[in-house]
């Protein structure tokens, strides 16, 4: 069963067609990278997977997105977002809430636990899974705004993991992190993909080659190439892909 499948997906922003008929298949429990030059529609594509695109009034979608075989449009968007978590380019933990509350928020409102004790357990588990626990275990009540950039991003990962999603979407998660934090996040991805499917948008082919099992190349809204990472990198089938990988295209 494939985690995510798009069927002839087309997306418009107003009159601008940003995604032009994409048929993508993302297998389960792998790290799947979507790469391409800026402005080619990667982030837009990602947001169609968890129906976050609907927040944008001028966005229009044709075609289908399937989550484990079922169309996301046949599901309650809230349900979709519980099963498909997201981490953003700019770490966005809610600054006015504590570290604990940030992680607990989604769990509470989606009614995933029945008691405070269970909640504490989930929060602890999520923070451990995102390799943040040791750094914050004594200050869970501190405001999230007091964390460093790298810690904030791991908090966002914990927050998403706490919902025990089947898929984790990551939109250029290390773009605004220092190299040390960035490599910590990449280590995390290696760990996490054993339990869930990770879809990562990245503008760095080098990162794609480091973390992903499968990679796809998106150019001007069209899917140019897709396949196992080693294969695509060593033997790109399309000239565009080769240009991108060798840095001759931005």
């Amino acid at each position: 069963m494939n985690a995510i499948e798009t069927v002839n997906l087309r997306i418009w922003y107003g009159d601008n067609e940003v995604i032009r008929g994409v048929n993508l298949v993302i297998p389960e429990k792998v790290c799947f990278a979507i790469m391409g030059p800026s402005g080619c529609g990667k982030s837009t594509l990602l947001r169609s997977f968890n129906r976050l695109l609907e927040l944008n009034e001028i966005a229009r979608i044709e075609g289908d997105v399937k989550l484990f075989g079922k169309s996301v449009y046949d599901m309650d968007p809230v349900e979709v977002r519980r099963r498909v978590g997201m981490v953003f380019q700019i770490p966005n933990p809610f600054p006015h809430m504590s570290i604990y509350d940030n992680v607990a928020l989604g769990v509470k409102y989606n009614k995933l636990v029945k008691s405070k004790k269970e909640l504490d357990e989930v929060v602890g588990w999520a923070l451990k899974k995102s390799a943040l626990w040791d750094e914050v275990k004594d200050r869970l009540k501190d405001k999230a705004s007091q964390l460093s950039g790298g810690q904030m991003q791991r908090l966002c990962i914990a927050r998403a993991l706490a919902l025990k999603p089947d898929v984790l979407l990551m939109d250029e998660p290390t773009a605004n992190l220092d190299p040390v934090s960035a490599s910590k996040v990449e280590e995390l991805i290696h760990e996490l993909k054993k339990d869930l499917t990770i879809v990562i948008v990245t503008h760095s082919p080098a990162q794609a080659s480091r973390v992903s099992d499968y990679v796809s190349f998106l150019y001007m809204g069209k899917l140019i190439e897709v396949g196992r990472t080693e294969e695509v990198f060593e033997n790109p089938k399309s000239e565009l892909t080769e240009k991108y990988l060798t840095g001759r295209m931005g």
């Binding site: 976050l52 009034e57 977002r81 966005n92 933990p93 809610f94 006015h96 409102y109 998403a160």
Partner: protein, 278 residues
């Protein structure tokens, strides 16, 4: 040569313009202090707590008016704030909808609306049927005056919360009501509270909406929601028009109190934010 002269005249003129614009503030502050302070000194605590003296016969106090101002402001907030904040939320969340856009425009129009007309309106719908001036009518008139300010500040504060946090909240599977009230309002709370305080400071100093609604009361502190009530601005307005010298003095004393209350609320708020829309 002429060019240089024009330049000098220009600089001089705008400096004068600035001076003339600001001067009245200091003149007013000074006059109110100079005329009001002696009255407060003479009246002592009695001035703040007592009832109004008879014509030409001492000072007494403006107690009923002070109580009235606080009560009316409180009641007006009770009535107006929930509606105003929710209206602000609505126009922030649905800025492209017809109602959202026209609400924003309407709010801006109502901010500039002559407040005497609000008072007259409330008089027509509340005072006439009830048969008497009342605290309720006064509070309603003030609430209507307050609403546009609070709504506009709320809307602005919400719009300034970066979109990335809204996305993050939705991505966690939160429903819109939770996203708005738990996350967005939480992050916008400073702007919202500022708007609320400014709204309250403004209506505490309003006179015209109260002229035909609250009625004024100089000897009774609080007779009931459906009875007339006093307010400091209203009292000042009534006293200034009387021919008696002692009433003029009381008016200055009351003005000093009002000015202090206003500045005490307004200056801290103003210092803590970058711009004010009045």
């Amino acid at each position: 040569m002429l060019r240089k002269l024009k330049e000098k005249i220009f600089l001089f003129s705008i400096a004068i313009a600035t001076f003339l614009t600001i001067l009245p503030l200091f003149h007013i502050l000074f006059s109110v202090f100079a005329n009001g302070l002696p009255v407060l000194m003479k009246g002592e605590i009695e001035f703040l707590t007592g009832k109004l003296a008879p014509p030409d016969d001492g000072l007494g106090g403006i107690g009923p008016a002070i109580i009235g101002t606080f009560l009316l402001t409180f009641l007006a907030s009770l009535i107006g704030l929930p509606i105003a904040v929710l209206t602000g939320v609505f126009s922030a969340e649905y800025p492209k909808s017809l109602i959202g856009k026209s609400t924003k425009t309407l709010l801006l129009i109502m901010m500039e609306f002559p407040t005497i007309l609000v008072g007259l309106f409330v008089m027509n719908i509340l005072v006439l049927p009830m048969g008497s001036y009342s605290a309720l009518a006064g509070a309603l008139a003030l609430a209507i005056v307050m609403m546009p300010y609070v709504a506009v500040y709320t809307e602005q504060a919400l719009r300034e919360v970066p979109f990335i946090y809204k996305e993050g909240a939705f991505a966690l599977g939160l429903r819109r009501s939770k996203v708005v009230f738990r996350i967005m309002m939480g992050m916008a709370r400073k702007g919202v509270i500022t708007g609320i305080l400014i709204g309250m400071a403004k209506v505490a100093g309003e006179t015209a909406p109260l002229l035909f609604t609250a009625g004024g009361s100089s000897r009774i502190y609080f007779a009931g929601l459906d009875k007339p009530i006093g307010a400091i601005p209203l009292l000042i307005y009534q006293l200034v028009q009387q021919p008696y010298e002692n009433y003029h003095q009381i008016a200055w004393g009351a003005s000093l109190i009002l000015m202090l209350i206003f500045l005490a609320i307004f200056i801290p708020i103003r210092l803590s934010i970058k711009e004010v829309r009045l």
